[in-house]
Amino acid sequence: MIPAAFEYHRPSDIEAALGLLQTHGDEARVLAGGHSLIPMMKLRMAAIEHLIDLRDIAGLRDIRIDGTTIRIGAMVTQADLITHDGLARTAPILREAALQIADPQVRYMGTVGGNVANGDPGNDMPGLMQALDAVFTLAGPDGDRDVAARDFYESAYMTAREDDEILTGIRFDATAGGYAYEKQKRKIGDYATAAAAVLITREGGCVKSASVAMTNLADTPIWSRAAAEALLGSSCDADAIRAATTAALADIDPTEDNRGPVEFKRHVAGIIISRAIARAWSRA
C-alpha cells in the first residue's frame, strides 16, 4: 500500500498554512496525526497533491483551562487528553472517551482536531463534542470564526469547515455532575457499533441538566435534545431512562455494515444509551 506522490509542507504558523490552502485549493489537505488520513492515502482513496503538516505551528498543542472554560488545541493528542490532570478534574469524560479510541500507539498520534474535523461518523470525539456543546474555532483567510459542534456536521465527511479553513481548536465549559462515555465495539481498534456520551447534573433527587449524544449511529454524530428533555426534572428512574432512550433512538439512523444489521444496531444503541445515562446519573 503505497500512497501517490505529493508535496509536503510544514508551515511554522497558521497564516502560512492558510496561505498554502488558498494557493493549492482542493488539491491540499491538512495533516494532523495522520492516522485517519495516511491509511486513506495508502489505499489511494484520498488523492492529495499538497499535504500541509500542522506539527510546527505554535499553540495548537496547548490545553488551557481558564476558570470554567477549557480550550484544547487541534494538535492535542488523545494521549495528551488521557494524561492531563487538569482535564481529569474539569472534564473527566474526555479521558474516559479517549481511552476507548483505537489503541495506545494511535492515541499518541491521533489528535482532537483531526478526530473532530475529519467528519468520519466512526470517530468518537464528534459525538462527545455534541454532548459538551463545544465550539470549534476555524481559522480562515478572513480570520477566525466559531462554529458550534452541534452545527458543524452535515453528512459523512461533510462539515461546515470551508476548504480554505483550518480547525485550530475547540472550546467548551468544564463539566459538572455525572458523565459517561459508553462504547460497544468488536475489538480494540474498532469503531463503535454504538456509543453514547452522557452528561447529567442533579439537584436534590432530580435531573437538573442533561446532554445525550451518540457516535456512529447516523452519518453524523447525533445530539438528542429530546433525550435530554425526557430526563430533565425526573429522578432518572427506569421510566425516565426508558423515555430518554426512546427519544434518543428516534434521532438515529444507523446503517448496516460488518458490525451488524440496522435492527441490531438500534437495539444495542438503546442498551448503550441506557447504560450511559444510568452510569452518568450514578456519578452525578
Binding site: M1, Y8, L31, G34, H35, I38, A102, Q105, M109, I188
Partner: protein, 163 residues
C-alpha cells in the same frame, strides 16, 4: 517529486537523508537504514509490527511519513540493547516463551518498553490494555504478558536493590 532533506537521530546516530515526501518511515528505516527489525504487517495501523519509539512515544511507523519525523529521535529494536547486554525485556521474552515466529516481537518489545517507562508497576490488565495495539498470531499473548510482567518485576527489584 522533489526529494526533501531530513535529519533523524536513529538509535543514537545522526542520519541525514533525502526522501520523497510519500516515503513511509517504516520503509526508510528498513530499506535506507537497513534496520529490518520493525516489520510491515497490516499497513492500516492495526497490527503494530512496525512499532518504534519516536520522541518518547510508541509509533506505528507504517502510518507516518519519514518527512513528519524530521528532527525526531527514533529508537528501533536494534537500538534497545547490544548483543552482549540484552535488555531485560528481550531476556524475559525468551525466558517465558513470549514469541514464536518472531515477526511481531520487535514491535511488541518496543511497545512494552514504552509501557514500562510510563507504568513501571503494571497489573496484568494494564499490560493487556497497553499492548492492545500490537497483534500476535502465534502466542495467544499469555506468555507475552507474563514476559512483560516478569521484566517489570526484575527492573523494580534491581532498582530497589540499588536504593
Amino acid at each position: 517529486m522533489p526529494k526533501t532533506a531530513i535529519k533523524l537521530n536513529v538509535n543514537g546516530k545522526a542520519e541525514d537523508l533525502l526522501v520523497e515526501p510519500r516515503e513511509l518511515l517504516i520503509y526508510v528505516l528498513r530499506e535506507k537504514l537497513n534496520l529490518t527489525g520493525p516489520h510491515v504487517g497490516c499497513e492500516t495501523s492495526h497490527c503494530g509490527a512496525c512499532t518504534v519509539e519516536i520522541d518518547g512515544k510508541s509509533v506505528k511507523s507504517c502510518t507516518m511519513f519519514a518527512v513528519q519525523a524530521d528532527g525526531a529521535e527514533i529508537t528501533t529494536i536494534e537500538g534497545l540493547s547490544t548483543p552482549d547486554n540484552l535488555h531485560v525485556l528481550q531476556r524475559m521474552f525468551r525466558e517465558h516463551h513470549g514469541l514464536q515466529c518472531g515477526y511481531c516481537t520487535p514491535g511488541m518489545i518496543m511497545r512494552a518498553h514504552r509501557l514500562l517507562q510510563e507504568n513501571p508497576n503494571p497489573t496484568e490488565e494494564d499490560v493487556r490494555f497497553g499492548i492492545a495495539g500490537n497483534l500476535c498470531r502465534c502466542t495467544g499473548y499469555q506468555n507475552i504478558v507474563k514476559s512483560i510482567l516478569a521484566a517489570a518485576a526484575e527492573i523494580n527489584a534491581a532498582q530497589e536493590a540499588a536504593e
